[in-house]
Symmetry: C2
Subunit: 669 residues, 2 copies
């Protein structure tokens, strides 16, 4: 269902009920751009830490506009044994609410705009008919302003208009305005002595309107209603009406109600996000980190400086997230799926060993046809993201004894994937862990190299030619990370470079140490500590308006599901939320397979389940060097086993996708 400003109000109840009844939700956003600074390959360095990546995305991606938001709700119909879907495609635009409301600026990146244009994106729907929105801070501000004016009114300060220190005294009218104001007063006096009810003054300037309001409220404290009316041509004029006290109050009341309604209209699309958030339901997305960041930034609050604070805010807004790109990149799917791009994933999970999930579009909703790809329409992308999730979840059911064809969104089987957001192109940290500390790979085979800006990747290959295979991640024109295939070669490389003049080599540890020192000098890492010993989140106090502290508490009191009850429907949408800070194991029916929930305290373990049989590896290698724990895009050393080479071949498309960050090569023109 396409939703614009035109039909938003009438659609809203459908949106609410769709969210209410859903088992899970899928979302997707389309933006006006990706990076306003470095190229995407520099923005996504293969050896970023999660903190670095977050800070870069916050700095270089948040000034773009999320202007299309896709929401697809999925409700499982037990009788039909299929999901009933309700897809919504919202067009969003920050139309200024009034002349005094913030006039938002956003950036467009011509490549992104051109890409969307080539996909048939309708920009007129966004810019001419986009649904407005306010973030929490703006909403609070607007409600306070309205409240303030009401109070002024209640205190007898006359028609809500201007707040001026002189409003209880006659207005100071500059000489050149005196004639004009006197004529207005004369006209109003004539109104009183005539049998007319209203008087329309000619359009005039804001300053003149102010003088008129002040003068009339001083000269005629009773019997008048004064209101500014805007014509279709956006000209504003003042209408003066003769009213008795009762009528005046009725009109004021009407005006206040109209204001309240306008205020809700101004909050606009944010109400949909609030509803998603309040539902506490599982929200599925594909490669969803940017979607989550944009959604919070645009509809809740400016993003916090600090990654830890961002995780806390995220848990309040979206208490349960699942990223299908991360799921598809993880055992047991990793072995089965060549290419985790959404379009390719959607194709693959329709084929054996997966099954295309039975779905039906709810009545009154236009149904998407996956054969006619409508990729990059947010509603369609959300829809197929949901399909991918269902197929993969159901595939997990095939490992049960007896196998289950349908695995619900509330099943324990999918909990290991909760709240882990795919990290694009980081070679050794597959995901951002929203509910705990992130993986900290040692990176003791990584060198930080600085060199003249004339150098190309081939020069680095030449420099390190003695060390076998290397992997290069460019940082900027004059520096790069070089991964050696063996850690013990690091010292040799360091030694041979000691007398080099044109370049310089440091270990990763040295690099990080130096960087931290610089940051401390700049005071970038100064934290403020509250009296209670908790570090205070560093965002504007007004963002506390939506009470994420309260919500957070709530989200960390889950009821752990019992064995065998994993498919029972969750009554309140909360009871199955698991606290990943505890390690949980779950024995499955057959006693052979078991699922280990992801461990977030230590960095060494990450879903170490072996192929095919989907039984957990209970002895993860302690140094994190288990090759299966490495992310997509990692080039295997040449000593890799035959199986791994095999895997590498299968993964060509993925390798191609990530190679542009690993090898910054000039493009063939």
């Amino acid at each position: 269902m396409e939703v614009t400003r035109t039909n938003f109000k009438e659609c809203l109840s459908h949106v609410y009920s769709a969210i209410d009844e859903a088992d899970f939700l899928a979302i997707d956003g389309e933006f006006s751009g990706i990076s306003d600074g470095p190229s995407v390959s520099a923005l996504t360095n293969g050896l970023d830490t999660p903190e670095e990546r977050y800070v870069k995305l916050k700095k270089h991606s948040m000034d773009f506009l999320l202007f299309q938001f896709g929401l697809c709700t999925f409700k499982y119909d037990q009788e039909k044994s299929k999901y009933i879907t309700k897809p919504f495609n919202f067009y969003v635009f920050p139309k200024p609410f009034s002349r005094t409301s913030p006039d938002l600026k956003f950036i467009c990146q011509s490549s992104s705009i051109d890409f969307l244009a080539s996909q048939g994106f309708d920009f007129n729907k966004v810019f001419c008919h986009g649904i407005p929105y306010l973030n929490q801070e703006q909403e609070v501000q607007l409600r306070e302003q309205t409240e303030e004016r009401r109070n002024q009114h209640a205190n007898g300060l006359g028609t809500p208009s201007f707040i001026s220190p002189s409003s209880k005294a006659p207005a100071h009218v500059p000489d050149e305005q005196k004639d004009y104001i006197n004529r207005v007063v004369e006209k109003v006096e004539n109104l009183f002595s005539s049998n007319k009810e209203t008087l329309d003054l000619e359009p005039c300037s804001g300053f003149q309107r102010k003088l008129i309001y002040q003068t009339l409220s001083w000269k005629f404290p009773k019997g008048l209603h004064v209101e500014t009316i805007e014509t279709e041509k956006k000209e504003r004029f003042i209408q003066v009406s003769k009213v008795d006290e009762e009528e005046r109050k009725r009109r004021e009341q009407q005006k206040l109600e109209r204001e309240q309604e306008e205020l809700n209209d101004a909050v606009g699309f944010s109400r949909v996000i609030h509803a998603i958030s309040k539902s506490g339901k599982l929200v599925v997305g594909h490669n969803m980190l940017l979607d989550v960041m944009h959604t919070i930034h645009q509809f809740y609050c400016s993003l916090p400086e600090d990654l830890q604070d961002f995780k806390e805010v995220t848990m309040c807004v979206f208490p349960r997230l699942l990223d299908t790109k991360l799921m598809a990149s993880t055992q047991p799917f990793k072995e089965l799926i060549n290419n985790t791009s959404l379009a390719e994933l959607e194709k693959q999970v329709k084929e054996s060993p997966f099954k295309a999930p039975p779905v039906e579009t709810a009545e009154g909703f236009p149904s998407y046809d996956t054969a006619q790809e409508q990729l990059h329409e947010a509603g369609y992308d959300a829809f197929i993201t949901g399909l991918c999730f269902i197929s993969m979840a159901n595939h997990l059911g095939s490992f049960l004894t007896p196998p289950k064809a349908h695995i619900s969104a509330h099943s324990k089987l999918i909990e290991p994937f909760f709240n882990k957001l795919f990290l694009m192109r980081i070679i050794d940290i597959p995901y951002l862990n929203i509910t705990g500390p992130d993986l900290q790979p040692k990176r003791d085979h990584v060198l930080y190299v600085t060199f003249p800006k004339e150098w190309k990747t081939s020069d680095l290959y030449q420099l390190f030619s003695a060390f076998g295979n290397i992997q290069v991640s460019w940082i900027d024109e004059t520096s790069a990370f070089v991964c050696l295939s063996q850690t013990d070669q690091v010292q040799i490389a360091m030694n041979t470079s000691r007398y080099a003049e044109s370049y310089r080599i440091q270990t990763y540890a040295e690099y990080i140490h130096e960087k931290r020192q610089k940051e401390e000098k700049l005071g970038q890492t100064t934290k403020s500590w509250g009296e209670d010993g908790w570090m205070k989140p560093q965002y504007p106090s007004s963002t506390a308006g939506f009470g994420y502290h309260r919500m957070r508490k709530r989200s960390i009191s889950p009821a752990l599901g019992e064995q065998g009850t994993e498919d029972a429907p969750a009554a309140d949408g909360w009871s199955h939320y698991s606290d990943n800070t505890d390690r949980k194991k779950m024995k499955l029916d057959d006693g052979k397979s078991s699922v280990e929930a992801a461990e977030s305290k230590t960095s060494e373990e990450w879903l170490n389940t072996t192929n095919k049989s989907y039984s957990p590896s209970l002895s993860p290698s302690p140094d994190g060097s288990d090759p299966d724990s490495q992310a997509e895009g990692t080039k295997q050393p040449s000593t890799a086993s035959g199986r791994k080479s095999q895997k590498n071949k299968k993964k060509k498309p993925e390798a191609a996708e990530s190679s542009s960050s690993l090898f910054e090569v000039p493009e063939v023109w």
Copy 2:
């Protein structure tokens, strides 16, 4: 005529011939926003100096996109005694030329976008079908890159592909790519032994393409043509063809020609601006400073830091400009025109004493109907700007003896208005003088006041209540300029404020002095001097590519027109260009009226013609205090004569327009 990427190439010859045959051109631009920083009222302070205004506009307006460009050409048909018009409405968008070309970012301001949307602007035409463009620097860069690849090719370095230090040696193929590359080589060997002509490789990464190019050019230096082809889905694959040497050369030649064509396509809309510029014809615009700045910035070069350099660049790109808003705000039109906004001006110059000019749309061009206003479509706005110019120019002809109904765009009568661009909302400097120094009003009645941020305009009125009428121009939250009505009150105000604690008053001279000192400390005003003693313009050297120095020289060698020949058609579009650095007087036929060309050496004189009779005042008041030399929006002191008060009343709409900058009052909601 609507021109998009789709029909641009076929329209270009029409555009060229329309410019060629025209007597004058009118232009207008639509932008994605106005100010990315301060509000427009802060951006346009009533007491900005021209330098300050230029720097502010450059800093806060140039990151928006000029995305619709209107051009309307006007050619006078002597037989029909009317103008034949050709209106063009170009949609412009910086579609990236290739993967390696700059990926431009631009800002959108939601209020501007919303405004254009309400006027029915078609954003899809911009974003999906906008004509691409390059500025001079990008064009030079692209041509150089192409040249470089050609030279490499000529030097036998094989198919234009990658520039690599190792291209004369076998490529360094990383181990994990060796299998892949060996298989490609095998396939190519098979091609040689088969009777097939071409071989399409599978799509692969840029890095792999690089290795393939290098390996094939090393292994098969002859007999092969290797080319990267992009599919509709933007996948790139390599096509290898068996060719003899002649065929290979033919293909290379074809490829180069294709590249040349693509390069011209990439320059795109800039070619229209180049044609306008080269024609040297009079370019008319309404309130055109931002249009001129955007046009130069987007299609020529980044704007220079310095106003003087900007003036020089402007004179090269647009040797003759005329701003209808400035014209309408100046004698003898000032007295006749209440409101100089384009829409209102267009209405007024159709009425007596003006005459609606006879115009006809050229065959094949859709004609605009001024009754059905299509305001804010750039083509329409350019069209009516041209109409306004014609009406006003013809009105000047009514002062001649005998009166002339048609005054040509080459007439001396309009020269006084050349190259003076309207300055919005500056109270005492009506225009930016492109061909000379700007007016320097004394401002000795102006005070610079700083105060607590709680202060409102009313507080300032109260503070200065002893001094009669004042005029307030807000700078920021805690400072404003206050104009007193009499200069001799300045010292009194200074004395009374000596012991004030909450606020501080400085004279304008003190303020400017302090500001200059600060700037000098920051080194913002450091200039570089060349060996020849000329100050070097401070822009990137590459912008010299379009040779504005050469053009400038040309533009300062005009042939002065003789008396009575003012209506003769200009043969080369240059002969009637007047050098404003010399003072010129022109006696008109009747010997009573004469027109004085604007004098740019001194700041005191500005079209000091008296009302109605349009004869020049030959004795301009030496201190520039002649009230007629003040701009629109200036509040007259209360001692003003009756005639002036009368004028003030007539000018209400204009006063309303400018009051929001002069009085920063809260808006009625």
